[in-house]
């Protein structure tokens, strides 16, 4: 007989015993020790059937194949760029994985240079390296705009179900927005509207665990945009 010691959606700390007995299985961020299932991070529990998953509240981005991330060019060699994607290891972008044709022996800084911000896909993750690729729809170098960092665990909430949240912000502010799975958000649009979008995204990452967030954000967006329109009218008069 197994016994569950926690409720669903409860906050747990590392080392906390979640369940006793072999009826429950450790999934993400938990492990088995003897007949106990134990949490290994600080996070929120998610019990589905026999599986106990912990959704981590903190921590660095752990790269997964197929993710889209935003990174900064740190360094380059003869045939690679080294990209900082804010995880435990540096990522490598090979010259063969770039959408442009790069001639052999060409100076790589003509394409991307130190400090450039790029929207890039994770193509392969091994123990020794993280490989990136620029081949894919929408992957490119990002010009201008603002870049902000949120906790990677809040990214799903910023995007919303099938992109509902991010599309709401995009449509109402008219900004171009790209969200990397590593927690970087890039926003470009009219300066005032950019600021509104930044505020909204910071708010989402702060209140990511609360319910009814979409409605709140929609309301807040309308309010902020309304105020701004008024201000514009006044300045025209």
């Amino acid at each position: 007989m197994g016994e569950l010691l926690i409720k669903d959606k409860e906050i747990v700390t590392p080392g906390q015993v979640l369940a006793v007995g072999m009826d429950y299985l450790p999934a993400q961020n938990s492990f088995r020790e003897g007949d106990k299932v134990i949490s290994s991070v600080i996070g929120i529990t998610n019990v589905s059937g026999r599986l106990i998953r912990i959704i981590s509240l903190r921590g660095k981005y752990s790269p997964k194949e197929g993710d889209t991330v935003i990174g900064k060019i740190l360094d380059m060699s003869f045939n690679n760029w080294f990209v900082d994607i804010d995880c435990a290891a540096d990522a490598v972008l090979s010259m063969r994985e770039v959408s442009e044709f790069v001639e052999r022996g060409a100076d790589l800084s003509q394409y991307y240079t130190f400090g450039d911000i790029i929207l890039v896909g994770v193509s392969k993750v091994t123990r020794s390296a993280i490989e990136l690729s620029m081949r894919g729809p929408g992957l490119r170098k990002l010009f201008g705009g603002v870049l902000l960092k949120v906790n990677p665990s809040k990214v799903p909430r910023i995007i919303g179900k099938q992109g509902s949240m991010i599309n709401t912000i995009k449509d109402s502010t008219g900004c171009k927005i790209s969200v990397g799975q590593n927690g970087f958000v890039w926003i470009q649009g009219e300066p005032e509207k950019e600021l509104i979008a930044v505020d909204i995204i910071n708010l989402i990452s702060k209140e990511a665990h609360k319910e009814g967030l979409t409605d709140k954000i929609t309301g807040l967006l309308q309010e902020k945009l309304g105020k701004q329109n008024e201000r514009e009218k006044q300045s025209k008069d």
């Binding site: 906050i11 747990v12 700390t13 590392p14 080392g15 906390q16 015993v17 961020n29 492990f31 020790e33 134990i38 290994s40 991070v41 600080i42 981590s56 509240l57 903190r58 921590g59 660095k60 752990s62 435990a88 290891a89 540096d90 123990r127 020794s128 702060k206 665990h209």
Partner: protein
């Protein structure tokens, strides 16, 4: 009457800790941070990483490494100014802090990386390495690093022949006092740090450690509640 209830210099019972205060997220630019106050001792811990480790020869391709740094601020003592910079003592404590924390960390998924822990003491009144370890454990959890357990740490010892927990500087300096720094993995009750300074019998040691492990359980509860409290409000 039990022997236990005999009052100490500051009026505490033998198994009573000094008042503890803890907080998470006190260093905004760190990946994880915590402050742990026990009596007049105040320890700040900040965690950075996991991040790429340089120079390369220090890297371990099997798993990430932990690097600890213990430092007493120049104004932290109760008397003279503490000379800033690393000393023999602070180097040793950095090392034992690292050894006390490493058994609970699972750094296998971060090859060639490093987790840096900086422990800074703003004010000291004994038990600094223990306060530092308790703070560091919370900061590591706050940084989201996978851990098998937390670490709770307290100093125990013998004052006037009685086993006591959480010695103050005054007690530590008294005639014939024994001072033991103790760090425990609270779930399994495994000891990860034991440093003994003084002379005592086997029985006394056994009894004192038992008292210390109980005190560590109290500290563990405080650590756990502090961690949970932060995310409830957030």
């Amino acid at each position: 009457m039990k022997e236990k209830s005999k009052a100490r210099i500051d009026g505490r019972t033998n198994d009573q800790l000094r008042p503890i205060e803890a907080k998470i997220g006190v260093v905004s630019r760190a990946d994880g941070s915590a402050v742990f106050k026990i009596g007049k001792t105040i320890a700040y811990a900040a965690v950075y990483g996991p991040r790429a480790l340089h120079p390369k020869f220090l890297q371990n391709p099997e798993k990430g490494i932990l690097r600890c740094n213990y430092n007493m601020m120049s104004f932290s003592g109760s008397g003279e100014r503490v000379k800033p910079g690393p000393t023999r003592r602070s180097r040793e404590i950095s090392m034992v802090t690292e050894k006390a924390l490493v058994p609970v960390l699972s750094l296998e998924q971060y090859p060639n990386a490093v987790v840096d822990v900086y422990v800074e003491l703003l004010q000291t009144d004994s038990g600094t390495r223990c306060a530092g370890i308790s703070a560091a454990a919370m900061a590591l959890a706050d940084a989201g690093i996978p851990m098998k357990d937390l670490i709770s740490s307290v100093s125990v010892g013998l004052v006037n022949g009685n086993s006591v927990v959480d010695l103050t500087k005054e007690e530590e300096d008294s005639e014939g006092a024994v001072d033991i720094a103790l760090a425990v993995m609270p779930r399994k009750k495994e000891v990860t740090l034991l440093q003994l300074d003084g002379i005592l019998s086997k029985d006394q040691l056994r009894k004192t450690l038992e008292l210390g492990i109980k005190a560590c359980e109290q500290i563990y509860k405080i650590q756990q509640n502090t961690l949970k409290e932060k995310y409830k409000n957030e």
